[in-house]
């Protein structure tokens, strides 16, 4: 097998898709977690990835981020996709603006960080410590840190799972707005069917190491996909969940 990850520079990626995955194989030892997976995400497209626990969503996301080696297939992705993990992963010893500008190689890093923090509603906390933030605020800073890189591909691994329902809805609005402004390709891993319906242009369900179901959400359509249909795809009998 010829495993290959092509990391393209920004310039050559201006118009093409945000990421293309073909025949991806990923295994831990002899256990194959992802087998012959194909995926393509356009720039500006918001894709939500559902699937039962342990089916390999995080594994796929880590492969796309270039964090793990792959055992087969091909990934064509930007050199540096931005990632927001389930935990905020802020550096406790750096102020918020230093956290947001981590890895940013520009002379006006502080101004850029300030703009990003303002976008997520924390423009007045530049010099504060991460420990003084609530969970939702910390997750917003993590989002700002991802967006300040102006990524072509944004990878989100259950970034809102630990938040309360109200904060989560606010975060949804914020994310939609930010994605509309910056137009990256987005892959959002989530367990929340409603979150997927609310945010995504396209919803994927992963099963047995591959994409088993795909649905394109048509905004403003009279009947968007029903929860029960999606839950059915996830192997849940929807009548018993209400």
């Amino acid at each position: 097998m010829n495993a290959h990850v092509a990391r393209l520079s920004t310039a050559s990626f201006e118009t093409g898709p945000a990421v293309v995955v073909s025949n991806l194989v990923r295994s831990y030892g002899s256990r194959v977690v992802i087998e012959k997976l194909n995926l393509r995400i356009e720039r500006g497209e918001f894709v939500a990835l559902l699937g039962e626990s342990g089916c390999g969503k995080t594994t796929l996301l880590r492969a796309l981020a270039g964090l793990d080696s792959i055992q087969g297939g091909r990934i064509v992705a930007p050199r540096r996709p931005a990632v927001v993990f389930q935990e905020h992963r802020l550096l406790p010893w750096d102020s918020l603006w230093r956290n947001v500008s981590l890895g940013l190689q520009v002379p006006d890093a502080r101004e850029r960080a300030a703009e990003a923090l303002t976008e997520v509603g924390l423009g007045d906390r530049l010099d504060d410590w991460p420990r003084n933030l609530s969970g939702g605020q910390a997750q917003r800073v993590a989002l700002a840190r991802a967006l300040v890189q102006q990524p072509e591909l944004l990878l989100l691994d259950e970034p809102f799972a630990a938040l309360d329902a109200l904060t989560r809805i606010r975060m949804h609005e914020l994310v939609r707005e930010l994605v509309t402004n910056h137009q990256p390709g987005v892959l959002l891993v989530t367990h929340d069917v409603d979150e997927a319906i609310a945010l995504a242009d396209r919803i994927l369900v992963m099963r047995h190491g591959a994409i088993a179901f795909e649905h394109r959400v048509v905004r403003g359509a009279s009947a968007p996909i029903s929860r029960s249909e999606l839950l059915g795809e996830l192997g849940v009998n929807s009548h018993s969940t209400h």
Binding site: L67, F85, R89, P92, W93, N132
Partner: protein, 290 residues
Amino acid sequence: MELSGIDRTVIGADSAPSSQSGDNAFAPTATKSKLGARGLQLLSWLAPVVLVVIWEWLAQAGWLSPHVLPAPSKVIRTAFKLAATGTLLNDLGVSLLRAAAGFAIGAAVGGALGILVGFSRVAEAAIDRSVQMIRAIPFLAALPLVIVWLGVGETQKIFLVALGVTFPIYINTVLGIRQVDPKLLELGRVQGLSSLQLIRRIILPGALPSILTGVRYALATAWLALVVAETIGAQSGIGFLAMDAREFLRTDVIVLTIVIYALIGVAADGIARFLERRLLAWHPNYGAAR
């Protein structure tokens, strides 16, 4: 809806414990509210002050021989006398200089080895076991050997302090580097940091709390090493002052040197605390909340 049981368990601001706890006067909270934080602070100083006063009184009354323990007031007078002739400050300076030189050398060696071993598994395999074996020796047990090697001059004293400092710094540096959260290291890679940036922005700051703990231990051992080293064949320094006084049964000078050693210890601890507060302002356990 069955809410009938709930209203009984509601705790409002004005239905606080007082309602049913008439016999609760000896609970910790009750004591605290009577004395207050300042009262407790005063109380904590009361015992040592009383002890000194009793000591003074016993000495004045002649119940305590000056050859056993001189009165505190006598020790203070001796301190002023020695300070006036300049010997006290001179000896203090010599002692502090020895401690500083030994600490600097020990910290540099321990820190360098610690960083090397912390970052490289190869260095760990090559160095760590030897260091751990040497560490098993209480460093003061090596004193006779050190005297054979280096005599009883300045080198021996500085060497002994450096020896005591090296190990706590080494161990805590390695530990600190190894304990850096792998999730943060992964984040550093995601953000595209170079190896050097990874060290500067994530590994060293992450290891700093542990390194400063090492500094704190090292200050304590440096000071212990200094006392022992100066007790043997010194021509100057606080330890020399004590040994010289012993010849003439000057218990007032001996007690004074003990007090000075204690003060140096307190000062060293204060420096360590100051460093922690300054450098770990971000840390919930050290920094003052903003």
